[in-house]
Symmetry: C2
Subunit: 456 residues, 2 copies
Amino acid sequence: MYPKQFIRFFTGQGTLLASTLRRVDHVGFSAPIIICNNDHRFLVRDEAASAAVEPETVILEPVARNTAAATAVAALVAMRKSADAVIAVMPSDHLVSNADAFVDSLLRASEIAATGKLVLFGIVPTRPHTGYGYIRRGGELDGACGVYAVDAFCEKPDRARAETYVASGNHYWNSGIFVLHAATFIAELERLAPEVIDAARDALAAANHDLGFLRLDAAAFARSPNISIDYAVMEKTSNAVMLPIDVGWSDVGSWSALWENAPAFDEQKNAVEGDAILIDTRNCLVHSDRSLVAAIGVDGLVIVDTPDALLIADQKRAEDVSGVVARLRELNRTEHAQHIRSQRPWGYFETLSTGSRFQVKLLHVKPGGHLSMQMHHHRSEHWVVVRGTAKVTIGDTERLVQENESVYITATHWHRLENPGKVPLEMIEVQIGGYLGEDDIIRSDDVYCRAPDETR
Amino acid sequence: MYPKQFIRFFTGQGTLLASTLRRVDHVGFSAPIIICNNDHRFLVRDEAASAAVEPETVILEPVARNTAAATAVAALVAMRKSADAVIAVMPSDHLVSNADAFVDSLLRASEIAATGKLVLFGIVPTRPHTGYGYIRRGGELDGACGVYAVDAFCEKPDRARAETYVASGNHYWNSGIFVLHAATFIAELERLAPEVIDAARDALAAANHDLGFLRLDAAAFARSPNISIDYAVMEKTSNAVMLPIDVGWSDVGSWSALWENAPAFDEQKNAVEGDAILIDTRNCLVHSDRSLVAAIGVDGLVIVDTPDALLIADQKRAEDVSGVVARLRELNRTEHAQHIRSQRPWGYFETLSTGSRFQVKLLHVKPGGHLSMQMHHHRSEHWVVVRGTAKVTIGDTERLVQENESVYITATHWHRLENPGKVPLEMIEVQIGGYLGEDDIIRSDDVYCRAPDETR
């Protein structure tokens, strides 16, 4: 529910999404087109605001259809402004430590793309990584120094093969970053993956504007095959070229990658975020979101402590988190998907305590935030304002509730909460009833125009 | 604030205190005399009840004065009933896996003690432990097969010396368990440590009975030297003898000792308590008190996750927890002493959330539990009953508050909470104010007769 582009891993660093947006907030680039899942639209808007970037548009995918369809939509949108549009396609969860060199590469790639090419970025490999696909370069292009034909796409290799690739000097990590001549990309889709471009066109034609978001038509978009740009176009087209880059890139695909890219280390090469006491401890990533972490005599561990769960893993095994996720799925658990702190367009809430017939939550409502008018069949709620001022509507009556005041909402009564003030509103909510699921909610009159089945 | 004899380490196992009490709830033993710190008196009473053991008396130490003074008091109390009393002196935080053999040894030792001896138990060592003192045995006693004179007390050794001791076959771990002829012990104290026995006699003479507890006189007891039985008597007397025992004993002095003594292991020799998913993980103790613990590819760790703090330690370094405690003391922190869940004679409370001007607590009041009549200068309180029924007194008015009802207590107003019902009362308390320390409390009329400076 909260992918890594939205997480602040280290104090003083923004999110990966904000970094990605700022990276192209630069002369030579138009305002970005953002494509995201419907569930993340408010997070995206908040991050764009925190990066002080005004997107051209935020396009909402009703279902995930991989990168080909999303990029097709972006290319179509870009071509509305210019038939010669060149687009840079960037996942929003990558780290680039040398942003200046990266922007230079983007500008260089756009010159090449403008000639009708589809440029993909190959990363100069620093080690035999088995988690990435590789690209084998072909000959250098005439008149384009340092730009290569693509000889082959290589699937994620085993360790031995990865070592061969790195030793060869002509294999690069497939970054998933592209600079595309939009018209050429669309033409190649028409030729190589017509179902993708048809679905993208139809979904865009039937899209509707919704509070500043552009929501693609669900039925039309769902008709696209679930396929990546590589499979749909790049592996088949003769227009693909590769530009190798060496810009301190990482897709932060594992906790050990986060450790490698930490902004600071202590003398024992530990990267620590949060409250920790380390004794004879080396080469560890320690991320503590709740109480004190004490480590004694350990080496090369990833220790991630959050209100949701605790992870302790050997750095060399940090990619096996997928095994934990698989186990959680088997057990029908929710830790791999949901968080204790749930983000909402009006702010967030956290579950503080859960009993058999009660739950205690902390609600944090941004200045100006409005919860929808809502009603619960099975739970009553006690609200105690602990910071700021709330505007509370119950039935037809409206009142202001100050710090240290409380209100009670009987089950089945319509109610609404707003923060009319200038500082955040914090409230303790004690829910009591026989059923306390988030789906016991009937909603009307939502300023964020959320669907009836979106909770809160 | 909550020593290890009160902790339930594994589901289905009682506390070490309850196990200790049950061990001697046996033909041949009188009701036990318990000596404990004043702070732990309600915990002791609850554990005795859970073990279904009715103590002869529970004696409260106003200050800690080590084992000589406490044992002197116990010996004096035992002699009130019989001039020939024999007492078994047992720390309440030891594990004995073979309880039957242990009781046999106690009964055998009491026969020897009845002849005027001071018997101490030597543990047949299973490895060169550096955390214990050792006893070197002398000759076997005439007519007492398997009972030995004490040749020497050896301080905690280094590793090499410990190996020599174990190889010698005539060194034993000093268990701290004794079986004493009370009159002989007192006579030896009079001769060897007269200040100890004088202080014990005076403290007992001036003791007062308090709600079923016997509270020693603080000034008198404080005059005793802070000294162990070993130093005060056993190392000097000619009446000491040693009975070696091999009964699966451990003082559970470290987390790795707890792992060694775990009641069950999985196939990879992990001992797991609580919610955990382990992948390629071996020889670990995992104790999870809050959310999911996931471990990947780790070996030989102690992982202890509680609401207070998280500990991750190499099993071989588990005794270095003292280093963490020292660091916490240096930093004036409280994690080494205090817990999120605070035990009180009426039940317990847990801190759910802490803000700059508010705190949220869950209060759990046992049936029949009474909080004192109290008043706070700096905080108002909102109480929401989430389970059971509360009797709430505010000023002169008294009312019953049911589940799903709330009350508000203005700062400076006298108030009291009771559970008049048959099931536990659970309440969410939202405190709001400029100062939220537990010491902002004025108390009167406490049914547990706590001192004014004891919180709540």
